[in-house]
Symmetry: C2
Subunit: 311 residues, 2 copies
């Protein structure tokens, strides 16, 4: 067991989960938006209000066409020559060895490192979290057409808290679409307002849970009854858009995606930004922490934001 996993006796747990005695709903104990709006803020007031209310926000047309082309090209390059990448960071198809996911994306690609630091994404996130930020997890996702599988409903924070030791709800994900995404090719679906309820999930975390949970999550999944109630209460929206669209969503927003039998693939670059003050502790609901490519520990310094064109 690594030193990061030694849980201090006094470690306070605001979001207890993975208990064996059943599921419960807990009210969120942290703000969704941590800053007060001010003139010159990187988001308009209605954008901040939308994020506060719904737990997600879509940013459209923030990149130039040439920048989007550069990102798409870099993603094709990485997927076509994965031998130079850390093998631990890859998820491949068992049959064909086709690359489906590349973790540690910003650590393995100059272009995507540049994207992670881009003011057009990272500045709004830093504002919403009212803190310096660092990359907690990053990945490139590629789902083929015709056979794309569904991703079931979950709150990311539940896993990050239980298995990674993220103490508070003070992290935001940014999904940068690298293909056009509409209602039919399995877009990200979210329950607006669900970020305000923490679903404490039933069931003890199995050892090395991440080895199977990256394919199909079994623990940390809300019950059918809870999902039906939440969907009745909040409704379901989907985040679609042209390639280059960016979706920001809170770490506790309930989300998932349907499978995709259309021939149109889906790809995105995904960055999780965590507040500097919210660095990982020992896991709150697992014996040992997940590996670094899934949950970065002891970041050296906060992200330095960069302006200008991505090339």
């Amino acid at each position: 067991m690594s030193s990061a996993a030694i849980k201090p006796i006094e470690q306070e747990d605001h979001y207890v989960t993975r208990l064996t005695d059943g599921e419960s709903w807990v009210e969120r104990k942290d703000p969704v938006v941590w800053s007060e709006w001010r003139p010159g803020a990187p988001l308009a007031t209605d954008q901040v209000e939308k994020f506060q209310r719904d737990g997600f926000l879509i940013l459209e047309k923030i990149f130039l066409p040439g920048e989007i082309d550069a990102l798409v090209e870099e993603s094709a390059r990485l997927r076509s020559d994965s031998t130079k990448l850390s093998q631990e960071s890859l998820v491949t198809e068992p049959d064909t060895n086709d690359v489906r996911t590349i973790f540690d994306l910003d650590l393995q690609s100059e272009v995507f490192s540049r994207l992670a630091e881009d003011v057009r994404i990272a500045e709004p996130v830093r504002f919403l979290l009212d803190d310096e930020i660092y990359v907690h997890q990053s990945r490139l996702n590629y789902k083929p057409g015709l056979t794309g599988k569904e991703f079931y409903w979950h709150s990311d924070f539940e896993t990050w808290h239980a298995e990674d030791g993220m103490p508070r709800m003070r992290a935001i994900s940014a999904s940068v679409l690298l293909t056009d995404n509409d209602a039919l090719n399995g877009p990200l679906m979210l329950m607006p307002g669900s970020q305000n309820t923490f679903v404490s999930c039933a069931g003890k975390t199995p050892e090395d849970n991440h080895k199977s949970s990256l394919k199909k999550q079994e623990v940390g999944v809300p019950s059918a009854e809870t999902l039906s109630k939440m969907a009745q209460k909040h409704g379901i929206e989907y985040a679609a858009g042209k390639k280059g669209t960016v979706i920001l969503f809170d770490c506790n927003t309930m989300h998932g995606s349907n499978g995709n039998i259309t021939p149109f693939p889906r790809s995105n670059a995904f960055f999780v930004y965590n507040a500097w003050s919210n660095q990982l502790e020992a896991p709150f609901g697992a014996e040992k922490p997940r590996p670094n490519f899934l949950a970065r520990r002891q970041p050296k310094q906060p992200l330095t934001l960069r302006e200008g064109h991505i090339e």
Copy 2:
């Protein structure tokens, strides 16, 4: 082998399929709309043009709320007490015995028999086919939320021709929505215009293919390359609507549906109307015909259409 399966030597096959030497595209040899429009026709000219062009047509608000309630209630009644139904006609969940599909719907329910004969559905179909009609197949479908599986792309006619011996493209399906259906809970997706191309599929039909193909079709499925090309050419549309909406689609329109992780179930009543002159012969691509609950043989008389309220 039943007498229906003895294939006369002179039997002409306009849509050869299930060959072992690969897939091919064949131009449709039959009209999509068989009638000339005339004043007093049961569809407007733009509706007829839409069906001719796209191979499907959506009819909204043709039933009164009370009629829709009656259909929904009858469907719940059938599913909750399936012991009185023909056991052959049922598809149930292996784990729970929950009823997912009831075939021969119009033969086992007065209310749905009445629906099949309703002028608001059957009259437009009879007009488009320019012939008397009978029910080739009928069923009630129920897909639960959260776990609804996808239904892969296919042309119904390919199977009905190969496995049932339907000679020509002169049949229309009517799907009557019994739940609200939107883009996210796995609606029917169709490729508009695809009805004009017959995809002759590769592979010999296995014996008793329908026993597995009702769950997952393996033979009679177009290749990934063909589906990608057709989707590029035709695009993909989806047929959504409030409960009570009716979707008419041609027997050769390429269609499918995504899985459904939303908690909202999908249910519909489904009637396939075949032209009286297009009755089944020996199968064109299988050793013996499928059972009667999947493909009715020797209908006694054409459908008698009925007016008035459904109760």
